[in-house]
């Protein structure tokens, strides 16, 4: 599969290993995506740079009003995190739905996002949270909104032979009067990629009389996790509740462009599904807000 395996203990060392390999090396975190791609020869490499020994990249913490998650944080870490359950349950729920326990123990949030699958569970949730990614290379570092980590035609916009994501950060919705929800349908409860998943966040004014903003992300209905901007507009400025949630869900289904798939169902079926699933997610998010009062 490859000839060299590097296991640096510092980020600096990892970055220079990548640079030295002139595009013929990739980062490996958990390896749950990359190992299969290498075995199937979808990717051919000279070397892999294992970053899991850089222990400082594995954490979930609150800092300056933001939640910060190290790129090496595993799905099991996120699913079990009291902080996330309290402040961003859509993300802990998304993580808890990934693969099996064995996959969650090893698979990381960084790998889930950078592998750039259109229905990657935690990527869909992070996008609804308006997360930023910290991207570093030997040339320096930059903060990138999650949506800009993707190329519109599919795949990561990162330079995978030079850059490493170290952290995802976002403001917990509750701090700004918001609430989120995650919703997923798969053929089985475990070890099954989503037929459809969605993450939403809604915000209201202080009296909860109208919606001030919304995020609706869906997968896999496009080449990358898809943001239903028109559906979000249906909500903004209008009162929360079933009437506008239904309109927004219908709009979201209209924007979705799923493809016919033997594994995931027909495009027509999944457009219908989108409508039901988005409505349920919005309703759940609103329930969370109402309870908070």
């Amino acid at each position: 599969m490859f000839e060299k395996y590097y296991k640096p203990v510092s980020l600096e060392e990892a970055l220079s290993r990548l640079d030295d390999s002139r595009g013929r090396a990739r980062i490996i975190a958990g390896g749950t995506d990359l190992v299969l791609q290498l075995q199937n020869r979808e990717i051919v490499l000279d070397a892999v740079v294992d970053i899991t020994a850089i222990e400082q990249l594995r954490y979930i913490r609150e800092e300056g009003g933001m939640i910060k998650i190290g790129a090496l944080t595993t799905h099991s870490d996120m699913a079990g995190s009291p902080l996330l359950k309290r402040s961003a349950s859509l993300l802990s729920e998304a993580a808890g739905n990934v693969g099996s326990l064995q996959i969650r123990n090893v698979g990381t949030v960084g790998g889930n996002v950078i592998n750039a699958q259109p229905a990657a569970d935690t990527a869909v949730a992070l996008m609804a949270l308006d997360a930023m990614a910290r991207v570093v290379s030997t040339a320096g570092e930059r903060q990138v909104p999650l949506g800009e980590l993707y190329r519109p035609e599919g795949g990561t916009a990162l330079d995978p032979g030079r850059e490493i994501v170290t952290e995802f950060s976002f403001y917990p919705p509750a701090n700004g009067g918001g609430s989120g929800a995650f919703n997923r349908l798969a053929r089985r409860k475990a070890v099954a990629l989503p037929v459809f998943n969605t993450a939403v966040v809604i915000w209201t004014d202080q009296d909860q009389s109208y919606l001030t903003d919304a995020r609706i992300i869906m997968g896999p209905v496009a080449r990358i996790p898809f943001r239903a901007r028109e559906a979000e507009k249906v909500l903004t400025g209008n009162p929360p509740g079933e009437h506008y949630f239904r309109l927004a869900a219908a709009q979201a289904a209209g924007e979705a462009k799923p493809r016919d798939s033997y594994l995931r169902g027909s495009a027509a079926y999944r457009k219908k599904l989108a409508q039901v699933m988005v409505l349920r997610a919005l309703t759940k998010a609103w329930d969370g807000l109402e309870k908070r009062g």
Binding site: K4, Y5, K7, G31, V35, S100, Q102, I103, A190, V191
Partner: protein, 168 residues
């Protein structure tokens, strides 16, 4: 370019080992082919079936997706380290008693997943047992007896007087 082997040291089934390993060897192949520990099975080879489940530092992982070089300085436990025929682990006793083994291909993986569970949760609820083995496919038993066996093993481990096991 030649693949440069590395001397890899880790704790395997409670004992230190050092082996020469190529950079792209997977843990499953290291265990089965180099070390001759064929208790760990290859089912799908792609993370779907759990037949290759082993425990690394207390966590269940799929050995078929796990680069061997990752286990440097780790503790690795396979079914061979769980118990022996003369001195089986309570889980192994319970699997036999409950009739949780038919063809047996999934059994090592099931045992390792349930061992990881019982290390963390001494008295798991049925839902916790189901979650712990949800990454382990069994084509024979229908799971009912496996779940029964795991809960029975939990009882045995909480009350050692009902298990024949000698502590090692």
């Amino acid at each position: 370019m030649d693949k440069i082997k590395k001397r890899l040291s880790f704790i395997l089934n409670h004992k230190p080992v050092t082996v020469e390993v190529e950079p792209d060897t997977l843990l499953l192949d290291l265990l089965r082919e180099t070390l001759g520990l064929t208790g760990t099975k290859r089912g799908c080879g792609e993370g779907e079936c759990g037949a290759c489940t082993v425990i690394i530092n207390n966590e269940a992982v799929n050995a078929c997706l796990y680069p061997a070089w990752k286990v440097e300085n780790c503790r690795v436990l396979t079914v061979e380290g769980l118990g022996t025929e003369e001195n089986p682990h309570p889980l192994q006793e319970a699997f036999l008693e409950a009739g949780a083994v038919q063809c047996g291909f999934c059994t090592p993986g099931m045992l390792m997943s349930s061992y990881a569970l019982l290390q963390k949760t001494a008295n798991p609820a049925e839902s916790e047992v189901k979650e712990a083995i949800s990454g382990n496919l069994c084509r024979c038993t229908g799971y009912v007896k496996i779940i029964e066996a795991i809960r029975k093993a939990a009882q045995k481990m909480n009350d050692p007087s009902i298990s024949k096991r000698k502590e090692v």
